[in-house]
Amino acid sequence: MYGTGIWRGMWITLNHFVNTYVEDVKWGFKRHVPTEAFPSRQGMEQRGVFTVEYPDEKIAVPERFRFIPFLVVENYDHPDRPGHDWCTSCGICAKVCPPQCIWIVRGTDPETGRPKPEPEDFHIDIDICMNCGLCAEFCPFDAIKMDHDYELASYDRTGNHIFDKARLSKEFRYWQSIAPTVAEKEAEARGGWEHKDVLKARAKEAKSGS
């Protein structure tokens, strides 16, 4: 019969409309259903729409999420070297960066004039950065990581979109807090929670001590 196709389609739309509110009914018609309801509302059981009311609620980004790199520095309460850069200014991130948005000034020892494994300055133009994450992937020292803070809107493009070293630096603790399992895997590969160089020095010490 002509028109049955349309009505069958309408029936599906109607079902869908009802299903959207099933979860709300289950959790008691609150404007914002409680936090515990979120995984089921956004998960495999949901039959209706997936709308999330940003910014009243946000989907926390997964651990591997990438948005603008940051530099890992030692925790500020680290016993030996608080706030020390993990970066050794080897320049691999700057070389692998596809849009070439990383500028590094390699540190030099003021006495000998020889390069030292520490960046003098580190700039990232976040307007150019394409969030590909290659810098973090190829960094041999786990010193540059992709951040999770995606709310970076600002009023002035020219003034504050080139991040310098101070703006980029974040404690190692921060990386552990946003990506705990990833950080743990990396620590396992390094052989400890500390920076590679620290671990190496420690191993050397232990060897010469014994």
Binding site: T13, F65, K95, V96, P98, P140, M146, D149
Partner: protein, 613 residues
């Protein structure tokens, strides 16, 4: 539905072609003997005849790709490279024609393969090869006020810094600057000699000047007038910034020409400045709905080159399984998007669309947790993938109002592949396939015959809806597709409705593949996802050429990559399916009403990131 005939192994296509054609063409053809190269070098004077022989006598009826290469300082010639395939399947026959860089002229292959039309216009536009006998040779992606041909190796862009990345200014003493403050060429916008902006008229708009026959056309009892309309570029039905110049008789299309290039960024020039690995995230941005299968094609292209070298280990089985998983999920997502958008174009504004992209949400959540990004995934590497599947799709709250979720990855995948996605496809089918409005608008509209589809180099669902069971996954199998069980979706009417049905069929086939891949993933859990050494940001790529192609949701996506043994590709060309599918647009639209053009364009499923590149 039909099972494609199994591919018969032949001798190398080049040998085969040489033995057949040598007697007839003698010195006009010879083998390309450069290291790492394959194929025939054809004398330009006989190119048209050779092409005809290749199509008619050897049966290579499908011209997949036609592109130009500039060999500056490596022989100083321009070279046109053609990849021709048999629609029955099998490897390509590559043939090339060379022409000097000054006054580059080659015969056009449009008389043999009309599908060469846009590709030759592109070669003229970007590389400056003039094609004799081309019906409409003018710039396609750039405008007439553009000086020079940008893909030539001696052409430099306004913000030019250095020939190849990585730039020396970045390390070790990076003096940061913003590009617009520091432009070494100054205001270097140039115009071609004799070009003035005053009175400039885009060639597409010259149509307006053309005399329109004043006489009325009488269609039954309707008096109709002729009219020229510029559809787009700012129009929701064009899926982006795309424009069609149409000449109407009443409401009937008499002539149509696509106008594009609004999103052009010279992807290929950027690609040649980049190192090999740096191109990977750029491929995401071609067809931004299918970034993972874009990655796939590029990775395959470069891996083929790496295989020419001594030390090369192919991707591991788990890597291949993950790649196929990602590619097929991408196909589902893209087809959902495209059938949803088709409904939009038919006037069912956004309800079916939203319904279609809903499941996409879950797939993208999975992509985000695995690759780090929802759309710009940048996930494949040469020799595997960047990362294994995570154990759990979990997150940590870091911003205010963050809501946390935590799923087991394999359970999530199982639910998605065996429960949700099949249900969604079935529901979508029930929702729209028999809908009378859909059938009335789609059946018999935009027909493309089998012969035309092949001749116009149409690819993907457009080709398969016209009755050609040609799917790269079967025709020239790659990855683990040979061991997977699936049918090539094919329909025979070649109209909008069949393209819609082919997409639905393909979604079901993708689900079949995914269900098999799920088991392979289960079986290979814990195995390496990357072959070779990790942490190689600049792998050595041996000199040579390669053409990596995959069956993208939009059609055959090919990457023609040439390495000269250095860090950067010498040539990086993308055979963009939606760009080439547009060649047949006029053919499909002629004689239909103007409202149908929107539906036909929707059924081709173009994506402007890929069309304009």
């Amino acid at each position: 539905m039909s099972e494609q005939a199994p591919v018969v192994e032949h001798a190398s296509p080049t040998d085969d072609a040489l033995s057949h054609l040598e007697a007839r063409f003698g010195d006009a053809i010879r083998r390309d003997e450069r290291e790492g190269y394959d194929g025939l070098l054809v004398d330009p004077a006989r190119l048209l005849d050779v092409a005809r022989a290749v199509r008619d006598d050897l049966g290579y009826d499908y011209l997949s790709s036609a592109t130009a290469v500039d060999y500056l300082d490596k022989g100083d010639h321009l070279e046109m490279v053609y990849h021709a395939y048999r629609t029955a399947g099998g490897p390509p026959l590559v043939f090339k024609a060379q022409t000097p860089r000054e006054n580059a002229v080659l015969p056009s292959l449009c008389p043999v393969w009309p599908g060469a039309d846009f590709q030759e216009r592109e070669a003229w536009d970007l590389m400056g090869i003039r094609f004799e006998g081309h019906p409409n040779l003018k710039r396609i992606l750039l405008w007439e006020g553009f000086a020079g041909h940008p893909l030539r190796k001696d052409w430099k862009e306004p913000y030019f810094e250095q020939e190849n990345k990585p730039f020396d200014s970045r390390w070790p003493d990076g003096q940061v600057w913003r590009a617009e403050e520091h432009n070494p060429y100054g205001r270097n916008v140039q115009y071609p000699p004799g070009f003035t902006l005053e009175g400039y008229q885009p060639p597409a708009e010259e149509w307006f000047e053309e005399p329109i026959p004043g006489d009325m056309d009488v269609q039954r009892d309707l008096n109709s007038d002729r009219l020229i309309v510029s559809m787009g570029p700012q129009h929701p039905s064009t899926h982006g910034v795309f424009r069609m110049m149409v000449k109407l008789n009443g409401e009937t299309i008499e002539r149509l020409e696509p106008v594009m290039g609004y999103l052009h960024r010279n992807h290929e020039k950027i690609g040649e400045r980049n190192t090999f690995i740096q191109n990977m995230p750029f491929t995401d941005r071609l067809d931004y709905l299918t970034s993972l299968s874009n990655n796939f094609g590029y990775a395959m292209g470069v891996e083929k080159l790496m295989a020419l070298g001594a030390r090369y280990s192919p991707p591991t089985r788990r890597a291949e399984a993950i790649r196929v998983l990602m590619a097929e999920l991408t196909r589902l997502v893209s087809h959902f998007w495209s059938v949803g958008f088709l409904m939009n174009d038919l006037g069912a504004f956004f309800t079916p669309m939203m319904f279609a992209v809903e499941e996409r949400e879950l797939v993208l959540d999975f992509f985000e947790a695995t690759t780090g990004s929802r759309m710009m995934c940048n996930y494949l590497r040469f020799g595997g993938v960047a990362n294994d599947l995570p154990e759990r799709l979990r997150s940590e709250a870091s911003l205010i109002n963050d809501r946390v979720r935590d799923f087991n990855t394999m359970e999530y995948l199982w639910e998605m592949i065996f429960e949700r996605l099949p249900r969604a496809v079935d529901q979508f089918d029930e929702y729209l396939t028999t809908n009378e409005i859909v059938t009335n608008r789609c059946i018999g509209v935009g027909t493309l015959t089998r012969e035309d589809a092949i001749a116009y180099s149409a690819a993907g669902p457009v080709l398969r809806a016209s009755g050609v069971p040609y799917d790269v996954r079967r025709a020239e199998p790659y990855s683990i597709y040979p061991e997977l069980e699936f049918d090539v979706a094919v329909r025979y009417h070649g109209d909008v409705y069949d393209r819609y049905l082919v997409r639905l069929d393909e979604m079901r086939q993708s689900l079949r593949i995914l269900q098999q891949v799920y088991n392979i993933l289960k079986a290979t859990e814990g195995e390496p996802f990357f072959s070779g050494r990790g942490g190689m940001y600049s792998p050595r790529i041996p000199a040579g050429e390669s053409y990596g192609r995959v069956e993208n949701p939009k059609g055959e996506l090919g990457y023609y990559v040439i390495s000269d043994g250095g860090q950067n590709p010498w040539r990086y060309h993308v055979r963009a399916p939606s760009f080439i599918n547009l060649t047949a647009l006029e053919r499909m639209c002629l004689g239909h009403k103007v409202a149908d053009v929107v539906a036909i364009l929707g059924s081709i499923d173009i994506l402007l990131g890929e069309v304009d590149r």
